[in-house]
Symmetry: C2
Subunit: 238 residues, 2 copies
DNA sequence: GAGTGGTCTAGACCACTAT
DNA sequence: TAGTGGTCTAGACCACTCA
């Protein structure tokens, strides 16, 4: 059996998506939900807080929980953007080319980015993403070898995240992202269809494990015309 | 008196920033914190969850709460980016020029973005941000008049957010952000020091009130060389 | 004043990590 | 086995909204 509050979360989320709780309307009160789900108030509140954090509802003191129009938001590129999500939202025909897959001794820059120990090795993966016939994303990944022994081209072509979480059973916990704009490098011009564009958007991703250890550094380099980043931020009452 | 869990949150956060709880070390256990702060476990946990969400600690079941290296992260441009935060992180000498401040009947595009009723009026504010002598940000704000009657140049020159939250006592609750890259418009070239740059980074901000009503649409247009966006995302266990 | 969500408590049991 | 954090409960009181 699952966590009770997650079960409740999913059931309410489903009803919102199915239109059973329409946007603009109020959810049943916490007291009513307690009876409906046979749960204590704190458990109901845990589920509602998750719903609020993920943009399903908005809680208003003294009033109730208002259902938001989820369709209005193309949903949270929540935390980690994987290429699969991106591709499905951008278009249909997408291909990944694995251009490089090497086990290297990192240079100073990568060593610093990954906070890698001297002498430790690092996987270097270059992937080019083609969507609707155009090569518009160039991903440079660096992964610490200590966490991942065997990386094959097949794994890289689908999703490294999925492999790590499903096969290796390790939990990715949080990520820091930086977005900047740069002039294209020679590598960018070599791997991407840059045409006349004089800028690339660089998304730097630092990915951490459960125990706060850094394990991956990624530079995702995008052609500017196809780049879009969506962030759905809720304010925390600090 | 304040909320107990927020007081505890702040006290622990302070100790982390002062180095009293150094990075890599473990925080006292929840049981110990209960005694130290004379609080119940749930209250301690609420404070710890806030700390985790804001990147101060990482909780690991069975082990404890590990203090993260906060200095490693230039901190969360959390939710709403206001120019004041931005400027202080970018440089010292910054000026805001209010180039336009009008009450208009919105055109179709703005009307759609704001989901404004036909016939309702909208404040249109153009502001140019100069940092270290260069005009690098051009902010176009559209605010529904129904929420804000009197907007002066003085308010615009400092912070509209602060005015709304402090003077009008309204709570801004959440925001949706979109980042894309465009070619500069004539307006961009007119108001910014764009030199030879052939792109601008456009940050579109949709700002909502407490009750989920949309009230502001902002386009913040940045010269690409000075643009940087940092996102600190934690994964939620959905 | 009735009904809503927000905070806080005390205590129970479970899941995981150490040793 | 002892100690940690994760979930759940039942009940109390407070702050806010609305008729």
């Amino acid at each position: 059996m699952q966590n009770k509050y997650l079960v409740i979360y999913r059931q309410i989320a489903e009803k919102i998506q199915d239109g059973e709780f329409p946007p603009g309307e109020k959810l049943p009160s916490e007291h009513e939900l307690m009876e409906a789900f046979h749960a204590s108030r704190e458990t109901i509140r845990k589920a509602l807080n998750q719903l609020a954090q993920n943009g399903f509802i908005q809680k208003v003191q003294g009033k109730g929980s208002i259902v938001l129009d989820a369709a209005k938001f193309d949903f949270p590129v929540s935390g980690l953007v994987s290429f699969k999500e991106l591709a499905s939202s951008l278009g249909n025909r997408h291909v990944t080319y694995v251009e490089k897959l090497e086990l290297i001794e990192p240079d100073k820059n990568v060593q610093k980015q990954l906070q890698a120990l001297p002498g430790s090795k690092v996987w270097k993966v270059y992937r080019v993403r083609e969507i609707d016939g155009e090569k518009i994303i160039f991903d440079k990944d660096y992964l610490k070898q200590m966490y991942i022994d065997n990386l094959t081209e097949k794994i890289c072509a689908s999703s490294i995240y999925e492999y790590i979480e499903n096969e290796l059973q390790m939990k990715i916990s949080f990520a820091k992202k930086e977005i900047i704009v740069e002039e294209p490098t020679e590598e960018d011009r070599e791997y991407m269809d840059l045409d006349g564009y004089s800028n690339v958007v660089v998304v730097k991703n630092y990915v951490y494990f459960d125990d706060a250890s850094l394990f991956q550094y990624t530079e995702s380099r995008h052609r500017p015309d196809k780049f879009k980043f969506v962030d759905f931020a809720r304010r925390t009452h600090t």
